[in-house]
């Protein structure tokens, strides 16, 4: 549940708009060549080393069941106490304040860690709960 106005970094991944809490968005970087990992699902594009740390690249569009053909050029690095991940972005919109309590988009799966829809100047977006999403990925989904 997202409540109270909080700064979020809004970005596009294909036609969908997504938002991560600004305090969790560490950096936006160009997507470097990736290393594939064994057992990766289709949403896990690979990993890359960044400042001495290995970061997994998550194809957000595919993870939420809306794969896109558009190539990803950038990733949003999201950091939570348990670790970090890089989420694919086709365009970075900017910082917006999301108002009010937002329901989960689903009761299970990856969408259970997205809330919304939230209204931002660029349209409607889904607010990502990064801690829950990382836990979901760590369960091997």
């Amino acid at each position: 549940m997202v409540d109270g106005p909080k700064g979020h970094l809004v970005f596009a991944c294909g036609p969908g708009l997504y938002a991560v809490p600004a305090e969790r968005a560490a950096e936006v970087v160009n997507l470097p060549p990736l290393t594939r990992v064994p057992g990766a699902g289709p949403h896990l594009l690979g990993v890359f080393a960044h400042r001495g740390e290995v970061l997994p690249v998550i194809d957000l569009a595919r993870l939420v069941g809306k794969p896109v053909d558009e190539p990803f050029k950038r990733v949003v690095l999201v950091r939570v106490p348990k670790g970090a991940m890089a989420l694919t972005a086709t365009r970075v919109i900017g910082v917006s304040h999301l108002e009010g309590a937002l329901p989960r988009l689903a009761e299970a799966g990856a969408l259970a860690h997205l809330h919304g829809p939230a209204r931002v100047p660029a349209g409607e977006c889904a607010a990502i709960e990064p801690e829950g999403l990382l836990d979901f990925l760590a369960r091997g989904r």
Binding site: P38, G39, L44, V47, E53
Partner: protein, 120 residues
């Protein structure tokens, strides 16, 4: 606490993917026997027509090509939290060689996971 290291790695390639195994876990490299376990499956690749076989954990694992890097004390980067359950937990870290990351796996864990049949 000192950073984890691995003393020598066997570098395996299959399709466009690569994987490192600790030298201590690989018993020997051999010609292909009948019915090897396919490393390609771990990466969703078709099995190569040719290749070599690594004997590890009592089983033969087919790879497309293999090199041995005997360098001791290679630094191992930890597995990101989001990948902790991957490959049945066989992924143990990453090594960086000549600017390239190599996933490092437990040979035993990998063989067990592949034998059990990875989830699609």
């Amino acid at each position: 606490m000192s950073a984890p290291v691995v003393d020598g790695v066997v570098l395996c390639r299959v399709g466009g993917a690569r994987l490192a195994l600790s030298c201590h876990e690989v018993e020997h490299v051999a010609e292909l026997p009948q019915g090897p376990i396919e490393l390609a499956v771990a990466f969703g690749e078709p099995a190569p027509a040719e290749g070599r076989a690594l004997c590890a954990a009592g089983r033969f694992l087919r790879v497309e090509s293999v090199d041995v890097l005997a360098t001791p004390g290679l630094a191992v980067l930890p597995v990101p939290a989001a990948l902790s359950g991957l490959a049945g937990g066989a992924l143990t870290g990453f090594v960086e060689l000549a600017g390239q990351l190599w996933p490092l796996a437990s040979a035993r864990g990998l063989v067990e996971w592949l034998t059990a049949g990875p989830r699609a």
